[in-house]
């Protein structure tokens, strides 16, 4: 038992690695805000493409979402980070992570938005436009607020996935939370920094996971 506590819950080592982990957390938060913000915007455009009257735009949108939902995010990330330099395109680890996860996440967000847009009755579009609102105004002021409210739990649970996803950036040595914890582990030969990183993720995400469950129960009731 002592050896277990020493290996996983070594307070001394946790305290020493804390500053490094906080630097990593900061990077994780930056990654999250970039990927979530761009994913929410990109996903909306992909979803609108899916609802379009033009057939080619609909097919393009479906091909995009299916393609990027079929590829593991880590494969996308490695392909962009390690593959593109062969084509003479050099990009920073941060940019590689943002691009890879944007492609992945915008397709997940797009599917959520799509479900939301479908849930708003067609009469709402027609009514809003007959009052003289333009299609863009109808979307922004009438349809989108209702759509987002209807799929809020799914948007939220997808956002939880994005935060978890950023830990993959450690694979290409971007010094976010998990990468720094791994560094601290290899220096100390002790897994406590990794456990501390896990605690950071829990503190960050447990409330959101609870909230998702709460929403889902309310919808079911």
């Amino acid at each position: 038992m002592d050896i277990f506590i020493d290996q996983f819950f070594n307070i001394e080592i946790m305290r020493k690695s804390l500053p490094l982990l906080i630097t990593g957390l900061w990077m994780t938060l930056q990654l999250c805000s970039a990927v979530i913000l761009l994913g929410l915007i990109g996903g909306l455009f992909v979803a609108l493409g899916n609802m379009s009257e033009r057939r080619w735009l609909r097919w393009l949108s479906i091909a995009y979402t299916d393609l990027f939902r079929a590829l593991p995010p880590l494969v996308l990330l490695i392909f962009i980070y390690a593959g593109l330099p062969f084509a003479g395109i050099n990009i920073s680890p941060f940019a590689a992570v943002v691009i890879a996860f944007l492609l992945n996440n915008s397709s997940y967000y797009a599917e959520v938005y799509r479900a939301g847009l479908i849930s708003v009755a067609k009469g709402q579009w027609e009514a809003a436009q007959s009052t003289g609102l333009s299609p863009a105004q109808t979307l922004i002021y009438v349809v989108l607020p209702q759509a987002v409210r209807n799929v809020l739990p799914d948007l939220l649970s997808n956002t939880v996935e994005v935060v978890k996803l950023t830990s993959l950036a450690s694979v290409i040595s971007l010094s976010e939370l998990l990468y720094n914890a791994g560094m601290a582990r290899s220096v100390t030969y002790n897994a406590s920094p990794l456990v501390l990183a896990a605690l950071f993720y829990l503190v960050l995400l447990w409330p959101l996971v609870r909230l998702v469950s709460h929403f889902q129960r309310r919808l079911a009731a």
Partner: protein
């Protein structure tokens, strides 16, 4: 254009590394199958146990489901892979990958099945028990079939997301598709093996994505 093809679709490199990639596909499929079976079975068992409403037990089930839904799998993989040998537990890379992904899937599956159980009306439980089925048989014959039907679309999506995570094995030296490809890439000095891994993943997962889309559209129609 020619240089592009030479870099990403070099036929010589392709021929040379095809056996490695195929070996990787085999590893990915085996781990994925084990994860799916263990994860769904585990999640279903936990959801059934939860429906007995034993307070202390439920507390642990809910904590387990919350923690494994909140933690990034890669963190848990690294803790098991690098931490456990120091306390005398040696786990192989594939074993660690299997345990963590199955545990993660079980947590999500538990929540999905539980949502299914919760949606079965109270009257049905009461009716089942009143006809003398008893709680366990009401659970098995009345609630479970309905819960499973509701669970299938979200479950397929979750299974897809988690089996894709077998690629994380490359971080701990499991020779699945991605790690075969990155190894081949560094030996050959060509990006072609990476293209091959992308194609391999598409061949495996694109049909699953399309099935998931079809399942979802079917349930969406029924709702209306």
């Amino acid at each position: 254009m020619d240089r592009f093809l030479q870099t990403f679709f070099n036929p010589v490199v392709m021929a040379q590394y095809t056996p490695d990639i195929i070996a990787g596909i085999w590893v990915t499929l085996q781990i994925a199958a084990a994860v799916i079976i263990a994860g769904i079975a585990g999640g279903l068992l936990l959801a059934c146990l939860r429906s007995y409403r034993i307070k202390t037990l439920n507390f642990f089930i809910i904590c387990y489901a919350d923690i494994f839904r909140a933690l990034p799998p890669l963190v848990v993989i690294l803790i098991l892979y690098f931490g456990f040998p120091s306390i005398g537990i040696q786990l192989s890379g594939p074993m660690v990958l299997f345990i963590v992904l199955a545990a993660t899937l079980a947590a999500f599956a538990e929540e999905i099945f539980w949502a299914g159980f919760s949606s079965v009306e109270k009257g049905q439980w009461e009716a089942g028990i009143a006809t003398g089925l008893g709680f366990t048989r009401t659970l098995a014959y009345v609630a479970l079939p309905q819960a499973v039907r509701l669970a299938i679309p979200p479950l397929v999506n979750r299974v897809l997301a988690i089996t894709k995570m077998t690629a994380l094995g490359s971080a701990i030296g499991v020779s699945e598709i991605l790690s075969s490809a990155t190894t081949a890439q560094s030996f050959s000095g060509s990006a072609t093996p990476l293209t091959m891994s992308v194609v391999a993943y598409l061949v495996i997962f694109l049909p699953m994505v399309i099935v998931a889309r079809w399942l979802e559209s079917r349930t969406a129609w029924k709702k209306r």
